[in-house]
Subunit: 386 residues, 2 copies
Amino acid sequence: MRASRIDAFLMTQNVDLYYYSGSMQTGYLFIPSIGEATFYVRRSVERAKLETAVRVAELGAFRHFGQTLRNDYGALFGQSEAGSVRMAADLDVLPAQTFLKLSELLTSSGRCELIDGSAYIRRQRMIKSAWEIGRIEAAAQAVAEALDASLHELREGVSELDWMARVEYELRRRGHIGLMRMRGYNQEIATGMVISGAAAAVPSYFDGPAGGLGLGAASPQSVSRSIIRRNEPILLDVGCCIDGYVIDQTRTAVIGALPAHLMKAYEVSETLIQAAERQMMPGALCSKLYEDALAGCAAEGLADHFMGFGPDQAKFLGHGIGLEIDEWPVLAKGFDIPLEPGMVIAVEPKFTFPGEGVVGIENSYLITEQGPRALTRSKTGLIVLP
Amino acid sequence: MRASRIDAFLMTQNVDLYYYSGSMQTGYLFIPSIGEATFYVRRSVERAKLETAVRVAELGAFRHFGQTLRNDYGALFGQSEAGSVRMAADLDVLPAQTFLKLSELLTSSGRCELIDGSAYIRRQRMIKSAWEIGRIEAAAQAVAEALDASLHELREGVSELDWMARVEYELRRRGHIGLMRMRGYNQEIATGMVISGAAAAVPSYFDGPAGGLGLGAASPQSVSRSIIRRNEPILLDVGCCIDGYVIDQTRTAVIGALPAHLMKAYEVSETLIQAAERQMMPGALCSKLYEDALAGCAAEGLADHFMGFGPDQAKFLGHGIGLEIDEWPVLAKGFDIPLEPGMVIAVEPKFTFPGEGVVGIENSYLITEQGPRALTRSKTGLIVLP
């Protein structure tokens, strides 16, 4: 914090609160650059005290919050009498209405600047602890089991929705919390998607390589009521969230056989993920992995189909996962940071063929000193059903 | 708009985009007080054009968005040369980071003020069209069917999680989109909760009368792995989202019989909802309904148990539902607005007994000229299982 001239952090989002305090009760977590943090809780104070080792205080009336901070952290606010106190918050998720109220409260009785600290948070959260990795592994195990338990019902004539319901039933019983959190505004995901044939290849707002037709304009992504048919690719992009941590993985299935050009594209996706595995050593640049994958696609004549089609292509090869499904780092242009041990990244080369479907594979990896270690438990390879 | 001296609205949230355009592709919907609206879409432009009757334009580079608006709406920006253009946006949900960027873009090349328009949006969305009511009824039907289809598996020894998984399977097959949208920051809900005995009565951050123990500190509300036992109240607070619209309903079940004091409290919840039904005529004040319910609880000696216990009581009797589960109006103190035909309100008197459980009932009603019409399809009354 001090290197960035930040005097304090104010965490507001449930996931950030949980990461830094162990509790996601409603309130504000104040972390000064010097001294003890306080979790100011609106509700439930009783439960927050059970969940966190951080000092808990009642938030009280919100309009007094600025004064409360000044009373509790007099030294911090006093020291900066010359300049203003620089307080960083998770402004990438905090609604503007609350931001404006907070700014007013904090600045009204003294000089204080509320700045965007989200990049610091996202950077810190890139590196997972052994405990976090354990949670992601538990989620990976749950997805592998849920798919295995449901695969016998993946038949010609079943709808995407019906089979997804079946998988979700298995995920839920294994402790899936019912949704996977995403940091991006307006992005939603419950358990991923099972999308097949032409319905899979429909462009979508979802910031991923495949969105799916969805259940209508009010839910325009993920599963639809389309019927799963023979000889079409079925994309099983399914995840879950156990103890707050998500896994993300994709397998491609087919009942019968894929047409030759889709089979070839699927094989290229496996080649690309194997190439990524060889590259994912500490020090490798995230942007380089994406560029190399793009070059690989171009060499195979598949550039237009990579990660979506035409104007709706997603511009990445993979993304960090953890408490949220869209964590850092991103394997994308401009992400010129090196891989580090402790990062967990979902790598997902996929190819979209409008009117025909989407094929690809996705595994999640922990970066170690020795290279990537797959956290995904499901067997790799195309799933061929009779 | 003109009465409020607002020159234009800028919608940013997926639900607001859908409400005003019929599409929730990623972008910004600009609605001027005079002239035609434009939906500036980042992704997918192709899909937005299929979904909305509003003019669609490509958003292009975000940094040029201010200039784009000035070019496309020259008259609007020109007319206000003396004062600044007042542009309202949904600042209760728009992240501060994007708000700050937008403000900079819009103000850099001319005078423009980005103000909070969320109250206007929430007020407008209170009154449902016949089409919207139809969607809510479809959701009500799905919940009623899903509960009926699952009730035979609600047995002693089953965990809350396992039975919720069963209900969710039935909901999903009927078209539930996988989550219920909430407008409130940090609030989450997938399908509600099935919570029993002491686990139901644990205080929670969730802004409702009962939160539940949940699956751990990273999901500290809704179902837990607690085992459903004989002679304890089981709160079936279950909803779903069909075509974007939600229903919210609660039934209380028991395997065996409720202890006398819980049975009495359950009966008071029925009395309170019947009293609310008599009051819910157009013109009745929302705040009055809450006050009268409070008085009713006090008369029964149940004031401390109403809508949560002690410091964790929720301060309302009911809430609007529609595209989101936490819509306006709220039956709460300070909400001194009259009921109007077209409003849809979930009324949910509930009583919390720490260490014992939660009892109550929740129905959703459409306000008509003749009074409330129940949209909830499930039979009322305590569900007694052998």
